[in-house]
């Protein structure tokens, strides 16, 4: 799902970042390496670079997101871009009608980079076909969320060294999760052993053919795991539609210290946020010494700086 624009040889030869699917291991690692220098920059007093000076970045969010949107905003600003945030309340508009219309309107304003989140799978790719600028997928339905997977990989790499051979257990609402899909693709590309752990009602059909091992119990799924990655379970899915109740879900799949003990002694805990404390994870684990959740947020800005920088290298007149 990557539109090639430059011949091979460039570290990141793509015009858009629409998903992890289609990225090679070399391209992923190049982005992670680029992120390392962004971390260093972000920890200085002077955080500004001029890579995107004069460029316009529009964050177009059809679905509310504080974390991802502010992360992309900071990343753009640190690279010197003019950043505009647009939140389109999708309940107030007539479905995708505005998607194409908004795309064409924004395109006429000549932005250089569009960062897009939409509730429908494939919507960002559809939009990318309508515009002349670079497009970054900030989450499309239950399809992909590539920068989340990249920041997760960066976080893992900085704490565990090489990702190859690590056992990563992704737990919770796999069915509705774009984070899970992008992580499955990326971690597999980097040679990790990926497991998914969830009740069967929260597993997509055919998941066993996507290069993962499927578990229905935390005890088995977490045994020997290096990384335990928890996913958010949305409130409206706990009322009997997918799981019968919060307490039953927490009892079997909520990550507490007891369940974490099934994993390796040095296993680390991740969560893409926002968390439901007491539903999929206890505060003690989320805020405990083995939690990487705070670090994930920092890595989020760095990875998005790296992605924007990589795409900037392929913009016209770059």
């Amino acid at each position: 799902m990557i539109a090639p624009s430059k011949p091979a040889g460039t570290a990141f030869p793509h015009r858009h970042l629409l998903g992890i699917e289609g990225l090679s291991r070399i391209e992923i690692e190049a982005l992670l390496d680029l992120s390392e220098s962004a971390i260093a920059l972000s920890r200085q007093v002077e955080k500004k670079r001029a890579v995107l000076r004069g460029r316009t970045q529009i964050n177009l969010f059809f679905e509310a997101s504080t974390r991802t949107q502010s992360s992309f905003e900071l990343a753009g600003k640190r690279l010197g871009a003019d950043v505009m945030n647009m939140s389109v309340n999708s309940s107030s508009v007539k479905k995708g009608e505005t998607l194409i219309d908004t795309a064409q309107t924004l395109n006429a304003m000549r932005p250089d980079i569009l960062v897009v989140r939409h509730h429908a799978a494939g919507a960002v790719a559809l939009l990318a076909r309508q515009v002349g600028c670079s497009v970054v997928n900030a989450g499309d339905g239950a399809h992909e969320h590539p920068t989340q997977a990249l920041l997760d990989a960066l976080t893992i790499r900085r704490n565990k060294g090489d990702i190859t051979g690590l056992v990563v257990a992704i737990c919770g609402d796999i069915l509705h999760s774009r984070v899970a899909r992008s992580n499955i693709l990326l971690l597999a590309a980097l040679g990790a052993e990926v497991r998914v752990v969830a009740p069967s009602t929260l597993l997509p059909a055919g998941i066993d053919r996507m290069g993962v091992t499927v578990f229905r119990s935390m005890r088995e799924g977490l045994a020997g795991a290096d990384i335990v990655m928890m996913l958010r379970l949305q409130r409206e899915r706990m009322d009997g539609s997918f799981v019968p109740s919060v307490r039953e879900y927490f009892h079997y799949f909520g990550l507490d210290e007891e369940k974490l003990a099934y994993a390796k002694p040095d296993a680390l805990v991740m969560h893409p946020g926002p968390m439901n404390r007491g539903v999929e994870i206890t505060p003690a684990v989320a805020d405990g010494p083995r939690s990487l959740i705070g670090e994930q947020v920092e890595m989020g800005v760095a990875v998005r700086m790296a992605v924007l920088e990589a795409l900037a290298g392929n913009l016209p007149n770059a």
Partner: protein, 439 residues
């Protein structure tokens, strides 16, 4: 029924063609003689009396003459959505595809659930269409799935069957009553067998492909369970039933068992489901978003075999014109449906050329069988029958291009597809309504 052009037509002779007439088990080189809008003779000895005086004689070498196709699942936008398709524009698209009879669905705005509306359709067709047009009426008022319509009065007004079109009747009680009451009128109930509850938010076939795309899946069981329910109700009521479109391998065994029990049951499949599968959706291509959804390659192959076996009786286009405002959306938000009148025969011929289906069986499934099921005077080249025929160069290669599409809507899943087999002339009631200059 409407006869689009009541004035007399000149005699027509097609000589030395391959005549395929499944209604008489005929597949032989011969001639067709048309007099006064009817078939005078068709077969090896048809020219024994010589050509009638003043006849137009068509050299049929390398051509196939078949009864004009009868497409029993066509959605139009008239009344209510004329910008998508009118009866006139649909009839022109049909003529291009060798279809001489279209049966239009009641999913219009308003829905065809009143005798006056059946009358409106038939009058509009008589005044504007160039092929024969029949109408199915709504099975339930407003297509709401609750109260049955006036089967008797609607039938008297000309409705040839009863269906809620794209919609399924979720209530088993309503379906039971409809089948029971329809029996008193000998009326055929046509159903989109897909359990809406199980479909839920599903927008494509459930499975690995949907999961990878992050799209909600619709399980095969939505079709299988609804079909099984319907067939139990047919057994209970003794009704006449036709499953509008099936798509899954297992539906074939369900149908086979029902037929073995002697139920008055038939089924259709869309040409799309015989030639495409879920992988064709690719990068969220909404022209491949159909209902029922495109299934796996195994399902597609099972559908082809079922047509060859006759377990699935009828092949339809399920022509469903949609435009930019309903299709240019993210996949999940886009409308279902694809146009198909112009590509129906060509898609079917793809199976014939591949050796999966005999030509005679294809013509039966696209012409003779639907005509018989709906008790229409069509689907045959028997002497005395209306002269509705398609003359086809079954080897002629062509490529589907949007610019060539006659239908008002352009939502074809076959854009850029290479086909072999082109209708060179379509004749309705002895009058030529379409010609394609080839060579």
């Amino acid at each position: 029924m409407t006869d689009p052009r009541p004035q007399p037509s000149p005699p027509l002779v097609v000589s030395g063609a391959r005549i395929v007439d499944p209604s008489r088990g005929l597949d032989a080189v011969g001639s067709v003689v048309v007099l006064d809008g009817r078939i005078a003779a068709a077969g090896p000895q048809a020219l024994n009396q010589g050509a009638p005086e003043g006849a137009e004689v068509v050299d049929g070498r390398d051509l196939v003459v078949m009864p004009g196709l009868v497409d029993m699942r066509v959605f139009v936008g008239e009344p209510g959505h004329e910008h998508r398709e009118t009866l006139a524009s649909a009839s022109h698209a049909a003529a291009v595809g060798g279809i001489t009879t279209i049966v239009v669905m009641p999913d219009t705005d308003p829905a065809i659930d009143d005798p006056a509306l059946v009358d409106f359709i038939l009058r509009r067709a008589r005044d504007t269409a160039i092929v024969r047009v029949h109408a199915m009426a709504a099975l339930t008022k407003g297509l709401a799935g609750r109260e049955t319509t006036e089967f008797g009065l609607l039938q008297e007004a000309g409705a040839v069957a009863f269906t809620d079109g794209r919609r399924a009747v979720a209530s088993a009680r309503v379906m039971r009553r409809a089948l029971t009451y329809a029996r008193d009128f000998g009326a055929l109930v046509v159903h989109h067998a897909e359990d809406p509850e199980l479909v839920g938010a599903g927008v494509m076939n459930e499975g690995e492909t949907a999961s990878r795309l992050g799209l909600s899946g619709s399980p095969r069981e939505a079709e299988i369970i609804m079909l099984e329910r319907d067939l139990r109700l047919v057994q209970l009521t003794g009704g006449r039933y036709h499953a509008a479109q099936v798509s899954c391998a297992e539906s074939v065994s369900v149908l086979r068992a029902a037929k073995a029990r002697g139920l008055d049951v038939t089924a259709g499949v869309a040409a799309t489901h015989l030639t495409l599968n879920e992988l064709d959706i690719g990068a969220y291509r909404t022209f491949f978003k159909l209902s029922p959804p495109l299934r796996s390659e195994d399902d597609r192959r099972a559908m082809v075999e079922a047509v060859a076996d006759g377990i699935v009786d009828i092949v339809v286009s399920s022509h469903d014109p949609q435009d930019v405002e309903t299709k240019r959306h993210p996949f999940a938000d886009a409308a279902d449906g694809a146009i198909g009148l112009e590509t129906l025969l060509a898609a079917g011929l793809r199976l014939v050329h591949a050796g999966d289906l005999g030509l005679s069986r294809l013509v039966e499934a696209m012409s003779t069988a639907p005509a018989r099921r709906l008790r229409l005077e069509a689907g045959t080249l028997a002497p005395g029958a209306p002269a509705d025929l398609a003359i086809v160069d079954i080897g002629a290669p062509w490529i589907v291009r949007e610019a060539d599409i006659v239908s008002r809507a352009k939502n074809t899943p076959y854009e850029g597809a290479r086909f072999q087999g082109r209708v060179v002339r379509t004749v309705v009631a002895g009058r030529t309504v379409h010609t394609y200059a080839h060579g």
